[in-house]
């Protein structure tokens, strides 16, 4: 008989409700972890006293039988790109920011379900980067190896989760910013269907591509948080088919990855096939256009939002972020519209690849967490910029809006995690989560599983 997994919200929330675990102890435990790992630099703002007060209130409410919901008493971290009442939304920037008068709707929903916001996490400035190094509050360090990046832009959220500083976190994802740090830190990150979670009260990067989503330690927790954040009454995760059919998009997605990632994918594929699931090779048509289409939508949308701030506070931006935003001001309107039109063809290509499949299976990152400060990485004998490499496998699904989730696929020879990615059909996030839960069980559970494997 196995006991409850006290890393997972589903298990611990039941104990909290039954009075077996105190929310005060949960919050104090998270605060202790934050204090013990200052170099990780996961948080910009720690709401210690406020969180402890809320935990004491939660404890009284639960004792009195006033259970507020499935997150009652659970410490949650929020990316500092999202409004939390009474705190400044810094976006990881020295550009002047204001104090939020009210919670973003997604934060309000978390609180209504009983969550305690323990703090606001560090990020790549204005979510415009993949390493969480360019932050006015210093770089986020990967808690599994402090010489490595935690990924980004939601690097603080993934690092906080991996280091036990919270039980769940909220991130945003414009080109991979939930899935990339999840892969780098060995956690689960869900980019839901486009517009499934309200983006009010979230500083935008590119409104066509921006998504908010949960970051957790398991797929069931991601389903729980998604339900809360979208305002649903319960987590909708239908039973997956007994025999999954997964499509592996080889060209451009699995053929330019480091050896440890290729080995991880082969192990997972083999384990799924051994368990009776079908894994097919598929192709995503036109995928080679991805980076060019992405650039011509994301850059001008980001620059348009930042234009007034760039006029007044240019010197307050990190130099790299400022230059990328300035570059976006030169994209011609005709090319922005061309790129928006080409998105349809890319979306149709993903739909066709998913035809007959329950989900696509591919890596989330072509490598493990890169060293802090690295400008380039060598992958499969080719040197490429870190930013482009980290976005390469995730950004397509921001453009097409398909739901997508990163989950740990096992460790490389360096002991650091390698991330898997599953992509579901349009507007079928619940179904994707069900498939992901089945794959997660296959990877991490029982004899013959592959979760602990090394390169």
């Amino acid at each position: 008989m196995t006991g409850p997994d006290l890393r997972r919200i589903g298990d611990i929330a039941a104990l909290v409700r039954a009075g077996g675990v105190s929310p005060v102890d949960l919050v104090q435990g998270c605060l202790d972890q934050i204090e013990s790992r200052p170099r990780v630099n996961a948080f910009i703002i720690v709401l210690g006293d406020r969180a402890m007060d809320e935990a004491a209130t939660a404890e009284h409410e639960i004792r009195a039988g006033r259970w507020r919901g499935p997150l009652h008493g659970i410490p949650v971290a929020v990316k500092d790109l999202i409004d939390v009442a009474g705190t400044r939304t810094t976006s990881g920037s020295a550009v002047p920011s204001t104090e939020a008068a009210e919670d973003a709707p997604l934060v309000r929903r978390l609180r209504n379900a009983g969550a305690i916001v323990i703090g606001k996490t560090n990020l790549h400035e204005f979510a415009f980067g993949t390493t969480s190094e360019e932050s006015a509050f210093g770089p986020v360090r990967n808690p599994l190896d402090e010489t490595r990046s935690a990924g980004g832009s939601s690097g603080g959220s993934a690092a906080a989760l991996a280091a036990g500083m919270c039980f769940a976190a909220v991130g945003t994802d414009t080109g991979g910013s939930i899935r990339i740090p999840s892969a780098a830190c060995g956690t689960v990150g869900l980019k839901p269907t486009y517009a499934e979670i309200p983006m009010a009260g979230v500083v935008p990067l590119s409104t066509s591509f921006d998504h908010a989503g949960p970051m957790t330690r398991g797929v069931a927790d991601a389903a729980l948080l998604l339900a809360v954040m979208k305002g649903a009454s319960h987590a909708a995760m239908p039973q997956p088919p007994r025999r999954l059919v997964l499509g592996v998009p080889g060209p451009l997605f699995c053929d330019r990855v480091e050896d440890d990632v290729a080995a991880m994918l082969a192990r997972v594929r083999g384990a799924l096939e051994d368990a009776g699931h079908a894994v097919l090779d598929v192709e995503i048509e036109n995928a080679r256009w991805t980076a060019d289409v992405y650039l011509h939508v994301m850059l001008p949308e980001a620059s348009a939002w930042h234009a007034p701030l760039l006029e007044r506070h240019a010197s307050s931006y990190s130099p790299g972020v400022r230059l990328r935003l300035e570059m976006g001001r030169y994209v011609l309107a005709e090319d922005y519209l061309r790129a928006q039109a080409l998105r349809r063809a890319l979306g149709a290509g993903v739909d066709r690849a998913l035809d007959g499949c329950d989900a696509l299976l591919l890596p989330a990152l072509p490598m493990g967490a890169p060293p802090l400060g690295a400008a380039t990485v060598e992958i499969a004998g080719r040197t490429e910029p870190v930013r482009g490499a980290m976005l390469r496998l995730t950004q397509l699904f921001n453009m097409t809006g398909h739901p997508s989730i990163a989950l740990p696929g096992g460790a490389g020879r360096d002991g650091l995690p390698r991330g898997l990615q599953l992509v579901g059909r349009r507007r079928a996030t619940g179904r994707l989560l069900a498939v992901a839960a089945a794959v997660e069980r296959q990877i991490s559970g029982g004899p013959g599983s592959v979760g602990g494997g090394t390169g």
Binding site: S208, N286, W289, A291, D292, V293, L295, H296, L299, L323, R324, E326, M327, Y330, V331, L332, E334, D335, L337, R338, A339, Q340, A341, L342, R343, R344, A345, G347, M399
Partner: protein, 60 residues
């Protein structure tokens, strides 16, 4: 009429230098290469699918 990329690039680099941002030049050159690829993709799609192919402005 479609804007010529070389004309656009020269104007963009000159404007960036006038604004005191000469370090933008390599980024703008990379953007120009990407724009060239984007337009080639549009032409390829139009050739493949005929006049009903997505037109600029069709949205997504």
């Amino acid at each position: 009429m479609t804007s010529r990329i070389d004309t656009w690039l020269a104007a963009a680099v000159a404007d960036a230098e006038r604004r005191g941002l000469p370090e933008l030049k390599p980024l703008l050159e990379a953007l120009a290469r990407s724009t060239e690829a984007l337009r080639a993709a549009e032409a390829e799609l139009r050739d493949r699918t005929g006049p009903g192919a997505p037109q600029a402005g069709a949205g997504a």
